[in-house]
Amino acid sequence: MTTTLANRRRPTRAGGPEEGRPARRNGSSSSRPGFVWALPATIFFGLFALVPLIAVAVLSFTTWRGLGDPKFVGLKNWESLFQDPVMLQSLWLSLLFIVLGIVTQTPLSILLGVWAAGTQKNRAILSAIYFVPLLLSSAAISVLWRALLDPNFGIPGQMSWLFGDGNVLGTQTGAIAVLIFVGMWQFTPFHTLIYQGAAKQIPPVLYQAASIDGAGTVRQFFSITLPQLKNSIITSVILMVVGGLTTFETVLILTNGGPGTSTTITAFHMYQEAFRRFDFGAGSAIALVLVIISTAISFAVVRVSGYDKMRSSLEGL
């Protein structure tokens, strides 16, 4: 998320207010706030987010079981981390979750977003309903779906032609499918919102020109809408990667990492190591892996797509 916003705003905004307005440098500076105004929030944020980020790196080289003080143990946590089969499996599962999440949510949310960016009246009401899942807590959504999918009292019992014996969460494939579907149910509205906002900003003149040239709706979609949405697709994919890596509540409540360890993705494994086995050193190492991977992927997507060099998709218009 950071990279997107940072890169999007840097050219115009993050450079600070002084850029581009040199004329006002002298004279009025006494009426401008000093950086002291920013200090309370910065200190507060530093205390709960930045210092812990450094602390988690330090803790990953210690052993701490919740009592007393952490003891330095060198690379021990890291060595056992890379020999832990559940950890290695969890990385593959996280990758699978991210890929499946992107593949299922992106096309759907682009279509819905472009559709919702239109102007007809019923769209406003429909999109109001679409956004409801976005407002609900992951906990409420997971509890709801767990109840709906209950083998005895839920929907599978009534639709055995689709669900077989009804114990959807009892197999690895079923459990993964449910988690992907619930993720889709919960987050498609959010990504739809991103695409809706972006689609609204595509200049109508592009479509008018295309119509004159004889391009149909489908052609217009692929030749105008999709290229114009490139920035949003990148933003949305990065958010899905980071979101997918840190999915936690859904797994805890819907599958508890199971059956067995078959849906134990990395974020959930971290929770188990730290707060169920009280091995905070090992938990910290996994947490650091999460941070490194999510930052690296975000940077990679930005690099590969050339997003950082692109100021506006409207250049040349």
């Binding site: 998320m1 950071t2 997107t4 916003l5 940072a6 999007r8 600070g16 207010p17 006494s30 009426s31 401008r32 706030p33 000093g34 950086f35 105004w37 920013a38 309370p40 929030a41 507060f44 709960f48 812990p52 980020l53 602390a55 988690v56 279509l111 819905l112 239109g118 679409y130 956004f131 976005l134 407002l135 807590s137 992951s138 906990a139 409420a140 709801l144 109840a147 009292f153 839920g154 929907i155 009534q158 639709m159 149910w185 919102l193 991103i194 906002g197 109508p204 479509y207 933003t235 840190t246 936690f248 971290m270 929770y271 730290a274 707060f275 905070f280 938990g283 947490a287 999510s294 930052t295």
Partner: protein, 272 residues
Amino acid sequence: MKTRPNYLAGIGAFIWLAIVAVPLYVMLSATFQTRAEFGDNGPLSLPTSFTLQNYVDAITSGFGRYFFNTVIVTVGVVGLVLLLVPPLSYAIVRSQSRAASVIFRVFLLGLAIPAQAVIVPVFYLINTVGLYDNLLGVILPTAAFALPICTIILSGTMRDITPELYEAMAMDGATPARSFLRLVLPLSKGGLSTIAVFSALQAWNGFLFPLILTQSESTRVVTLGLFNFQTQFGINIPGLLAAVTLSMVPVLLAYLFARRALVQGLMGAGGK
């Protein structure tokens, strides 16, 4: 925009509407049925009777207390955000010091820090200062993690105030504090309500911090209550769904009355 209606997308949109709406309908209809009736008829059938007993059960099984706790956490988080973010955004938008632009970048980077990544040190910190199992211990980190996005939203609003207005204030000899109170705050009302609604939503729906940082029933928040209810009484589906419905009511009310602010906040979260 497009002049021709797009039937294909329209059909897709209606299918998705069903996927979103049917589970919500099943949830609501289940909460008005007795357990026996729900068990006999199954979730997809139309209700034949009406009872409010499930809601009574949910409230008496502790959700009254959980709601109270969640309200405290939400008010605390919104209060802290409204106290900390406006001066910060003001400095980011108007300060000429290098430090302010560095700080803005720090907050942009802060967006990428997932709560999971720092939960162990935060647990250590909260334990050390003696706030474990205390609602204040939930409020502080929840507010801290709401800061980056709220700062980006609010500084966006504050940038829209034209420089001429600041200059006029400066001409009158206004100090930064006076400009802040008389000019910036009144003209940022839209952004302020967006960050208030948005941070309230995050606090209301928060799960990880309460899960790790509280323990006893007296500090339990609604989301944890749902999780707990499910592990203990998972078989009582109508009761469980009544609790889920109750947890959603305040958010849906907020959505009805502050839809603009919410959607703007969420769009801000998406970068555009």
